[in-house]
Structure formats: structure tokens, C-alpha cells
Symmetry: C2
Subunit: 272 residues, 2 copies
């Protein structure tokens, strides 16, 4: 399996602190050594760093950890291969364009016998179940909405419906973003935290690093961090229920709903 | 205007030497300071590094210069903005997927009033003439060949026809590659060199750096380097005639042809 890390904020924020802990899990304190990647949105543009080596030993990961790229939306992934060889083209996150926006996608899980029919609009380059799921997701969104960006709630309903459809094939935790919106689907494991004023100290679980966010932030800042397993051990992370889809915008949850029949611990959104 | 650098080889080769000279032109010895980018193919996968800062002062460019990523196909670009703001989404090279391959594109020139009709299959994310040209190129290739990768010569004929069509709008020097094939279109300025045995010494024009390729290569290696202006001052670079399209594969020219009426200095390929 793999691990996911996402960030969605209302101001461009660097992810150095969270990435420091996350990177350590890629072959240093954990087994995720089959490559890693990270994508930063800067406006509509994307900076993507991919490496088929373990993140703990990657000079590119060292650069990312030490060079504060400020972004409102980040998706990162460390890989323990289940399907697909250890190759650059199988390294997450993946990127495609839809409606004049880049979309970034990373997956943790395993889809069994997922062989969707592709019409050619988005074709996988590698041979992972994950990239197939991403291409199918975009293909179906374009089929549904044509060349026009739908409203946020229309898009949420459709991504939810596709998450149910693809999720029927197996474990399907994913992060999916276009620089403004960040979708997080919890099929088995995903947690999140929204950091906002009053900001406090945070301490990484995987490395002996502490940070005082109150010294680095303004009181209006809002930063949502999503991770497979909580990255800090002195903050309260929310556990997403299996079978839920969450949409983050400007550092907060703006929509959420069920993708399987079952209880939702927080107030469901109207369409769930 | 901007500058282009491309590499196409028969064995994975690092571009550190050429990039060292090229990087110096991005704000150090030259005026190209409005961003830079480089894309390396590794098999079908791509590593893309983009920065809207000058390459001469970019920590990411330092990493690329010092970290020998071995690739059979590389495209790099340093930008002096003509159209489009200095933003990440306007930074070349651009990337899209077609026929299950990533395609990388970088442009040097200026297309006047180029407003193609887009059907939605590939839409620009930024607002440069260059990205519009790339999206139009891919859209028309998909329209012509559907979901199937055509033969090399069919593809060459079509890219040539589209180069003529788009080139009617202005200066259109470009590099366009999928990891195997590298197209180079010379509208005004483009040069190339094919390095092969017997390998000799090369000395950069823009930095006091010399390399002895005979110490680093095997006698079967073949490396084509394409650049707007020759990068070394002790080797013979071929000047591409304005109005010519060249296709490189495995480190050598495999097709070339005219995109305007005029003389071609070398033997034209059958379809030119």
C-alpha cells in the first residue's frame, strides 16, 4: 500500500514541515520505498517532482524539504507497489488537463480487475490501476459536463457517483485536485486536520521536529492537511469514515457525503 | 524571445554539460530571465522541472545541473516573455498525453493573432501563443489519427503540414517529443550536432567548462543535441535552414522536410 498527503489552504503555504515527516516514511521509518512524488499548484500552474527511488534517499526530496515552495494546493504520495512495475510512469501523482485546468491525482489502495473502457480522451501511460482510475474519472467527467466547468456541487455529486462506481473494484483512497478544489476519498484510511487561529505547536511523529505555527502565520490563515496516518502526535486529527468523500476549498471542508451505505459521524451534506 | 535545448540519444545520457551552458543564458550571460523549464523522459515517464524564476538563480536549476538524470530525450527552454505573464502556467515545456504517451512541447518565437478553434480535447491552461499552438497540434493529430499511434512517416507528414499551418502566424521554432521521437522545427534559428565515435573534447561558449566525451561514452553511443544557438565553440554545429522540420530518433536524423518553399541544404526526405 501507499501513503497520501494533501494540503489545501486559503493562502499560499509551504509544506516543508509536513513533508519532512511524510518523507521519512518513504524507506526510512516505513516500507514505502517504491518511489514518491509531489505536485504543487501555483495559481493554475503545477510543479511536479517525481522519483522512482525511495523518498528518504532522494536528492529531489531533499530539495523539496528545504526549498519552501508556497502553494494553496499540494498532493504527495509515497509508493509501496501493488500493481505496476517500479517505473517513473507508474509514480504518483498523475497529471492531466480538463476544462483548461491541470488535475492531479494520487491513489492509495488496490483495485481488482478494474479494466474500464477508454474512448481515447485520456489514456494511461503506465500500467497501474491508479492511473486507469484517474483517466476513467476524467473521461466520465468530460462525458458528463462537456467542455464547460460545472458548478462545485454538480461536480461533487458526479465525483461521488464515480467514486462509488470505481470503489466497487476495491480499496480506493484518493486525492484529486485542480489548484482550487481538493477532493479526498476515504475508502479505508484517511485523516485530516484544519489548522487555524489560535495556532499552536505541532510535533512530528516520524522525526524529532517541532514547529510553532503561531510564529509563522496570520490569524486569518487556514490550512487543511490530509494524510493517510496523522503526521503529528500532539494535535487532534479527524478520522474520515470509510466510504466518505470530502471536498476542501480555501482550507476548509465545503462538501462531504457518503460513498457507501453507513453512518457518517459528522453532519452529512444535503446530497449525501 | 526564448531559447530551446533538446537532446535525443540512443542510450540514456545525462545533459549536465549542455545544461550548464544553457542555464547560464537564463539571466547570467543573457536576457532570458522570465522562467525556465526542463523535461526528461525516462522510458514513457517524464520528470518535469519548471520555475518562473531565472534559471541562473534557481535552486531547482542547480539540482538539475548537479544531479545526473539519465534520459534518452530531453527538452528545455529558457524564457524571455513575449506573450503571456510571467507565471508558472506559462512556463515551457508544456505536457499533455496523446495515444498513451506523454508529449512535451517548447516554443521559441511569436505567433500573431493565433486564435485556433478548440474542441475541448486539449485546452490551454495559461495564456501563451505557445501553449495554444501545442494544444492545437495535439487536437489536430488526434482528429487525424483517432486513438491509434500512426506510423512514423505518417506522423511526420502531418506534423509538417501543421507546422506550415501554424507557422503562417509568425515565428514558430519548436521542439516536440514523446520520449522516442523528437521533432525540431526551425522557423528562424535552430542548430544541432550529432556526437558519436570518435568522441572528442567540447568546450562551452557561455561558461569556462570543458568535457572529454571520449572518457564518458561507449563507441556505439549517439547523442543529438539541438539548440537555438550552438552551446560549444570548438565543435561544428549544423544550422537548420529556416522552414525545415527535422525528426530525431535514437540520436540521429530520421526524417526532414521543408515547411516553406525554398532550398534545403541537405538531401530532402521523400515527402519534403
Amino acid at each position: 500500500m501507499c501513503e497520501l498527503l494533501g494540503m489545501n489552504c486559503n493562502v499560499p503555504t509551504d509544506i516543508c514541515f509536513s513533508f519532512t515527516g511524510f518523507q521519512a516514511r518513504g524507506g526510512l521509518v516505513d516500507e514505502h520505498q517504491d518511489g514518491w512524488g509531489i505536485a504543487f499548484f501555483e495559481g493554475k500552474g503545477v510543479r511536479q517532482f517525481l522519483d522512482s527511488n525511495a523518498s528518504a534517499h532522494s536528492p529531489i526530496a531533499e530539495l523539496v524539504k528545504n526549498y519552501p515552495i508556497r502553494s494553496k494546493n499540494v498532493i504527495s504520495h509515497i509508493r509501496k507497489a501493488t500493481q505496476g512495475d517500479i517505473k517513473l510512469e507508474n509514480t504518483h501523482p498523475f497529471m492531466r488537463e480538463l476544462w483548461g485546468y491541470y488535475w492531479i491525482f494520487a491513489h492509495n489502495g488496490n483495485l481488482i480487475n478494474f479494466k474500464p473502457e477508454f474512448d481515447g480522451s485520456y489514456l494511461p501511460v503506465g500500467n497501474t490501476d491508479s492511473e486507469s482510475a484517474f483517466c476513467f474519472l476524467l473521461q466520465e467527467l468530460r462525458k458528463k459536463f462537456g467542455t464547460t466547468f460545472p458548478s462545485r456541487s454538480e461536480l461533487f455529486i458526479e465525483v461521488k457517483s464515480l467514486s462509488i462506481q470505481i470503489g466497487a473494484f476495491g480499496e480506493f483512497n484518493f486525492l484529486f485536485a485542480n489548484g482550487d478544489l481538493l477532493f479526498s476519498h476515504c475508502s479505508t484510511h484517511l485523516t485530516y486536520i484544519v489548522r487555524k487561529a489560535p495556532f499552536t505547536q505541532a510535533r512530528l511523529k516520524d522525526k524529532d521536529v517541532e514547529i510553532d505555527f503561531s510564529e509563522l502565520t496570520n490569524h486569518t490563515d487556514r490550512v487543511a492537511v490530509i494524510a493517510t496516518i496523522p503526521l503529528t502526535n500532539n494535535e487532534k486529527w479527524e478520522t474520515m469514515d470509510p466510504g466518505t468523500l470530502w471536498l476542501f476549498q480555501e482550507g476548509e471542508v465545503v462538501e462531504h457525503g457518503l460513498t457507501i451505505a453507513g453512518p457518517l459521524t459528522q453532519n452529512p451534506s444535503p446530497e449525501s
